[in-house]
């Protein structure tokens, strides 16, 4: 596991992504390999205990509570570290999630709506996080604006079933994706800051 520090945000990635980032994102503040203890201290997303998906009528509420507990802790940690970068909420039954995430670059804040379903096969398969407004702007997306997680995230998820939850998907799936894709989309002019958009209109 490798850790990247980018504008105060800490991102965990696997070896391949790490190598790519190092090559294509020279603006990164620092890249370092972290040991397990640092990883724990920096991430602080509690692991989950209950192995249950939305079809397990009896156990799903327990799992959903754990998801919320873990997410609350993660957001609290982020806030404490002055690194608040997403918000989430769910439908009553916890199968449909939506919220926002932010990307900071050159002291500007870029905001995106995110959404995903909890698949019937959860937690064996990870949720497929989507940013619908970016659909069609990057090839690293599947239909409906689902971000491409195959390379950097799915092997990691598979290894950690059922301990990983939504918070881990956000931190280890969405986080690195935003860090790689958004600067690229901004440089291509495909993503504009909201002030810039207002000026144009």
């Amino acid at each position: 596991m490798y850790c990247i520090v980018k504008e105060k945000r800490i991102i965990y990635v696997n070896k391949e992504i790490y190598a790519k980032l190092w090559k294509y994102q020279p603006s990164l503040t620092s890249i370092k390999m972290v040991d397990a203890a640092t990883k724990k201290a920096l991430s602080g997303i509690p692991l989950l205990k209950t192995n249950a998906g939305p079809r397990d009528k009896d156990l799903w509420p327990t799992r959903l509570k754990e998801e919320y507990m873990s997410l609350i802790k993660y957001v609290e940690n982020n806030k404490a570290a002055d690194n608040d970068w997403f918000r989430l909420e769910s439908s009553k039954d916890g199968t449909r999630w939506f919220g926002k995430c932010w990307h900071m670059q050159d002291f500007l804040k870029y905001e995106f709506d995110i959404e995903f379903d909890i698949p019937v096969t959860y937690p064996v398969t990870a949720p497929e996080i989507a940013i619908p407004e970016l659909d069609g702007k990057t090839a690293k997306m599947y239909r409906g604006g689902k971000i491409c997680l195959t390379d950097h995230f799915k092997p990691l998820w598979a290894k950690n079933v059922p301990k990983f939850g939504i918070g881990h998907a956000i931190a280890l799936g969405l986080g690195p994706w935003l860090a790689v894709e958004i600067p690229d989309l901004i440089s291509k002019g495909l993503v504009k800051h909201k002030d810039e958009k207002e000026e144009e209109t």
Partner: protein, 401 residues
């Protein structure tokens, strides 16, 4: 400049023309030009007008005993993309009784490097476009379509119910489910449904770089289910250093997809009509033209509860069956009285090789896509705490942060 009157006349003329075209279109939808009527019984008569003559000839050739039985079978095709659409077309041309198609995608121009769909169909749902083309090719096939994502809670129950009652008469399950989807989530959803329903199915797939593929027969309890082990990949012998993935998620070729669809339907026909051998796992590496095959036993530690249940049922069934008397073939050892040249026979596989293979249970040239979850490792990471707070409290708390 034309007067208002002239313009009004022009509009009237255009409206009439449009109405005529619309009528023509509507007529064509009913019975498109060149389409044939339904055929009640498959005939073996060799005449130009018989669409089944070459298929029924398989009987005369001694390949298939009862080809016309294909009309009694119902097959579900999940995913009508590069592999699924070709699979559906092949089965339609073979005269399958009933096809049930599942997909929630629309036809796009970006799909035109693959077979089956045509540019004028872009924007249509894949299942609707496929139904039109397929019923034109062979109106004898009953085609049922479902335009939804099977992995969501909202649709999964309906998906299971459709499989459970999808036989030709609707009084039983479909005869086989074919997975032609392009993602792990949907494969696992099919796997869960089929384990629960004890439904046999064949998984198919093409790699994201378009140069390898596979098919895998899953008989719940009898062969490995899709969740018994991490997904398998066929070694492509591409140097990792030269493997580039910059800027794209997936590539595709009509060739690889056509080959995989062909292998899938070939094994479907063998399975349904009972001829030849149905391969349990067949890989395809396009760069080497390498086709590894292997047998996959179920994992007694599989995380799918229903897989374990099916395994127990299968073992019971095996135990209840009268034991076949195995006639041991007595191999006569060839003895040479003299060995003038001191020739010695040596085993082809070295001991190291064979242990490695049995450890992995994988055929040469096949590997796991990723590691299994490591349960043995004790994780010292923080685990979520127990709570007395209600669900509503937690929801409000996260929202209020």
């Amino acid at each position: 400049m034309a007067s208002i009157q002239e313009l009004k006349a022009k509009i009237k003329q255009l409206e009439d023309e449009l109405a005529l075209e619309k009528r023509r279109n509507a007529e064509q939808v009913g019975t498109p030009a060149g389409s044939r009527g339904k055929i009640a019984k498959m005939s073996a008569e060799v005449v130009d007008s018989n669409p089944y003559s070459r298929l029924m000839a398989l009987k005369r050739m001694g390949i298939v005993d009862n080809y016309e039985k294909i009309r009694d079978y119902s097959v579900a095709v999940v995913g009508v993309g590069g592999v699924g659409s070709v699979t559906a077309e092949m089965l339609t041309r073979c005269g399958i009784g009933k096809l049930i198609l599942f997909d929630y995608d629309k036809v796009e121009l970006a799909n035109m490097n693959r077979l089956f769909f045509q540019p004028h169909q872009s924007g249509m749902s894949k299942v609707e476009a496929a139904q039109k083309t397929l019923s034109f090719i062979n109106p004898d096939v009953i085609i049922e379509t479902h335009n939804y994502n099977i992995t969501t809670m909202a649709n999964f129950d309906n998906f299971m119910e459709t499989i459970r009652t999808g036989s030709i008469n609707g009084d039983g399950p479909v005869d086989l489910v074919l997975s032609c989807v392009d993602n792990f989530e949907a494969r696992m959803a099919i796997n869960d449904a089929c384990n629960e329903l004890a439904q046999n199915w064949i998984e198919s797939g093409v790699s994201e770089n378009a140069v390898s593929g596979h098919i895998q027969l899953v008989k719940p309890g009898e062969t490995a289910c899709f969740g018994c082990a991490p997904p398998l990949v066929v070694a492509e012998n591409i140097d990792e250093k030269t493997l580039k993935r910059e800027g794209v998620c997936a590539a595709s070729l009509p060739t690889t997809m056509g080959v995989v669809a062909g292998l899938l339907v070939q094994n479907t026909l063998k399975y349904l009509l009972g001829f030849g051998n149905v391969t349990e796992y067949l890989g395809y590496s396009a760069l080497q033209d390498f086709f590894p095959t292997m047998v996959m036993k179920p994992n007694s530690q599989c995380s799918s509860r229903y897989c374990i249940k099916r395994q127990e049922e299968f073992q019971k069934k095996l135990a209840a069956q009268p034991k076949e008397e195995i006639q041991e073939e007595v191999k006569e050892e060839i003895k040479h009285d003299s060995n003038e040249w001191a020739i010695e026979l040596v085993d082809e596989t070295s001991p190291e090789e064979s242990t490695e293979k049995s450890d992995e249970n994988l055929a040469t040239g096949i590997k796991y896509r990723y590691d299994r979850p490591d349960d043995t490792k004790t994780d010292d990471s923080e685990v979520v705490a127990d709570t007395d707070e209600s669900m509503d409290d937690l929801m409000a708390k996260l929202k209020g942060l």
